[in-house]
Amino acid sequence: MENLVEHFVELIRRASTDLPADVEAALREAKEREADGSAAAGALTTILENVALARANSTPICQDTGVPIFYVFYPPGRGISTHQFRRQAEEAVAEATRRAYLRPNAVDALTGQNSGNNLGQGFPTFHFEEWERDDIRVNLLLKGGGSENVGVQYKLPDARLQAGRDLEGVRRAVLDAVYQAQGKGCAPAILGVALGSDRGYGYVHAKEQLFRPLGDVNAEPTLAALEERLLRECNELGVGPMGFGGRTTVLGVKIGAYHRLPACYFVSVAYMCWACRRASMTIYNNGEVEYD
């Protein structure tokens, strides 16, 4: 298998230091909506200055560079070994940590010892899938602990929320998740939501939704309508940037529906902070690499 280590390092650098253009534009629009001189406007101004500075200096947007989560799509017949792929990505993660694009974040759950290089049991995480195309696609998400802590999985029906096993129940669950999070997950957030699936894959799919650009409209009209409604209603909660109060609590809501067991109806909400550090690269057959 070809050596992709430097490409992985560059992908990590971009994810950590260069906020995606659609997210930055949404933050800019959010700032315009907030009252002049408000704490909310001040927070968004600081956020935008920080985004520009991080990009210019190639330093992390946020010090919590999170768990690197790799979603890899690869073609058959190009000599891809998922084992080698993982080894190369891990080498890149350790190198990116040395170059201070990543903070050492892997802590042994038994001893409390930080491994110092972001490598450990199940750290970073990988999801591999073979696909029909002949290029390799790598999606990377850096998701920090503050936002991860406010993610929540509902099991419908939920008596407290009077949420049944239907889209109205989903709506109630998502609104509750955003209310519960307050400013603790670094609002304004982007929500990735998965309906159905099992408990484990519910969150995996919810995080996949975070790769959709903010302007992307769901191909399923029912979900598109729910995304739009939830975006509006989450912002009516008034939590605001950083929980300071204000008009922008959420920048986007992305929902996917997956088959479920008859007995289970999970709503998995992955709460992504405003520093939505996603980056992707495509490695073509001729060896050319494109980052986006």
Partner: protein
């Protein structure tokens, strides 16, 4: 809403003058401390039956240093990205706040024990910390979560690091000198908290939305 430049150590008068919504620029020496640091301070220095002079010498020295830095001082809930140069000196590369609420079980005691005047973090803290702020004259300073490169720019010097090998880089006590570190007062020494106001308002909004479906 006023704007202040404060020099650390901060006096009680200066803290009691602040109100929620005020912008503050902090200057001077502060100490980072988060989950492991708070647990350590509580278990070894604060909620312990043993006299602190029976501590192992290294912990005793750290205790003395923290006592002098935190009297009138500021603790920062932060796990930075750091870089060590060829001379072995440390630099902060990215240094935004971490979520403070995890320290709620400890912070009131830390404020009381050391005579802290300020806690910097994000997301706000709960009723025990708010009561301690009023009783002892302290404030909660909210930094902008995720604004890590910008805040690292305000960190002019890393003076020392303690417990790095034991706790890891994010959890260590980093002693840093800051200039014009920008924060907003979201919990003041008069019992006001923006966080409880926003929680109450958003709860009312949630109830409206759920009733109107």
């Amino acid at each position: 809403m006023a704007s202040y430049d404060l020099q650390i150590p901060i006096s009680e008068d200066e803290i009691r003058r602040l109100a929620v919504g005020d912008t503050v620029y902090l200057n001077g020496v502060i100490v980072t401390g988060r989950d492991a640091a708070h647990k350590y301070m509580i278990e070894n220095f604060i909620r312990t039956d043993a006299a602190t002079d029976t501590l192992p010498p290294a912990d005793q020295a750290l205790y003395e240093e923290l006592r002098s830095l935190l009297a009138g001082g500021v603790i920062y809930h932060c796990g930075p990205v750091v870089r060590q140069d060829e001379k072995g000196e440390w630099h902060f590369v990215a240094a935004g706040p971490t979520t403070s609420i995890r320290e709620e079980p400890y912070e009131a005691d830390v404020i009381a024990h050391f005579g802290l005047r300020g806690v910097i973090g994000k997301g706000g803290m709960g009723p025990n910390t708010l009561i301690a702020c009023r009783e002892y004259g302290a404030a909660y300073f909210h930094a902008v979560g995720g604004a890590a490169s910008l805040i690292a720019d305000a960190v002019k010097e890393v003076l020392a690091v303690h417990k790095k090998d034991e706790f890891g880089v994010p959890e260590a006590f980093w002693v840093i000198r800051v200039e014009r570190f920008p924060v907003v007062v979201t919990m003041d020494a008069h019992g006001r908290s923006i966080h409880s106001d926003v929680a109450a308002d958003s709860q009312a909004a949630l109830e409206r939305l759920l009733a109107g479906s």
